[in-house]
Amino acid sequence: MIDGKTLGLAIESSCDETSAALSLNGREVLSNIISSQIAVHTKFGGVVPEIASRHHLQNINTVVDSCFEEAGEKLGRKLTMSDVDFIAVTYGPGLVGALLIGVATAKAYALAAGKPLIGVNHMQGHISANFIEHKDLEPPFMSLVVSGGHTNIVQVDRYNHCISLGGTRDDAAGEAFDKVARVIGLGYPGGPKIDKISKQGDPDAIRFKRVFLEEGSMDFSFSGIKTGVLNYVNGEKQKGHEINVPDVAASFQQAVLDVIVTKAVWAAEKPKRLAVAGGVASNSRLREMLTKECEERGIELFFPSPVYCTDNAAMIGCAGYYKYLDGGIDDLTLDAIPGLAMDA
């Protein structure tokens, strides 16, 4: 406890980033250290989980130490493990090797310091990222979760309880961005690269098919547009034409976002509140489109800052805090669950 507030330590290592954070009452972030491994990945033109998990092991103690240091500086007093009230950790979904390192570390700290351990669902962490900067946001609301592994429309009923109303039937949105970026020679990470280069392109240059699926469905399908871009690129090559990369990127992005925005806004029609989450929530065109649509429909729109959109421990600390308040303490048998359902 610090000045009557609950101090939470959180650890996140489900995919690429190793991260540790300290926060007060879940929403007041004291430190949020993310050891970004993008540099390692770009060398190989893709995410390399094997390397990522090796780095987690190398990084994790340093990351935890610096999160205590930075939080201590912020408060102007030394913080140690004994000040901590609970330890939250991501236990799924994610890559098994990567998750295990975070879970094992959190268990070791919890056991050594005698602190409660809280296993957090990574996806609920992403949604909770919205609570950090929007102090008055409370459930219920609708959430759009868009990342490298997920594209879901989620009804958030209470803290740490949600129901997925729809998700992708094939590729996730972020995955489609990565794959298309590769096809048009932009490299990794595809999301930010397509976002950036699209600003110089014409979103109406090429008409890629928008896949809305059955009437009323909240599901998504992006494998068709991936193939659509491939067919377009191959076709142009065969004709001996150079492709206009900004135009292809912008047209692809627009087709994907048209579907996402339409469904998200439609789902938020009743709760009148929409909180966006996940890595793709940083996409500037998505923000623009949602801002406009929500304004017209009187829907209150929430976005985390980009730093809380990527995988980070502060969001895990926030979700963990509400689980802790709920008495959701796990014992040391907590296991990593790579395929953990988004609404589990």
Partner: protein, 139 residues
């Protein structure tokens, strides 16, 4: 080497459904083919043939996804993001490859050295039209 001409997705479906009927525990089906050649799509039809009721999505993010609602378990791998076979050991791939279900592996060329000797391999190539595919099967 058997070569099969798939004219469109309907043919992919027929092929997947028929293959599903023959799959037994311990079978490893290795799919090799570029982006968009229909590896995930074929896997969806195999799952359908096995009677899987869950939605089969691309497992690129978690590398392996398990489906247990069908006639036999289906373990769906996408090893696109794997560079070093060590990562496969971390996942415990042997428990899947030699386990109680059938495995389908997308981007299997990435882990060629780990494939069992009797793995069923399909090389998928694009054909003349947008929906045509050539399946080169070792079985």
């Amino acid at each position: 080497m058997r070569e099969i001409r798939i004219k469109n997705e309907k043919d992919t479906e027929r092929f997947g459904l028929e293959l599903a009927d023959k799959l037994k525990p311990g079978d490893v089906l290795a799919l090799i083919g570029d982006l968009g050649t229909g590896k995930t799509t074929l896997t969806k039809y195999i799952a359908k043939g096995l009677g899987v009721t869950e939605t089969v999505t691309s497992p690129t993010f978690t590398i392996v996804q398990e489906y247990r609602s069908g006639r036999i378990p289906l373990f769906h791998f996408d090893v696109y993001r794997i560079l070093d076979p060590d990562e496969m050991f971390e996942i415990g791939y042997e428990d899947y490859f030699f386990g109680p279900g059938a495995c389908v592996v997308e981007w299997a060329d990435q882990i060629e050295e780990l494939l069992p000797e009797d793995a069923m391999i399909i090389r998928i190539e694009r054909g003349e039209t947008e929906t045509e595919r050539i399946y080169k099967c070792t079985f």
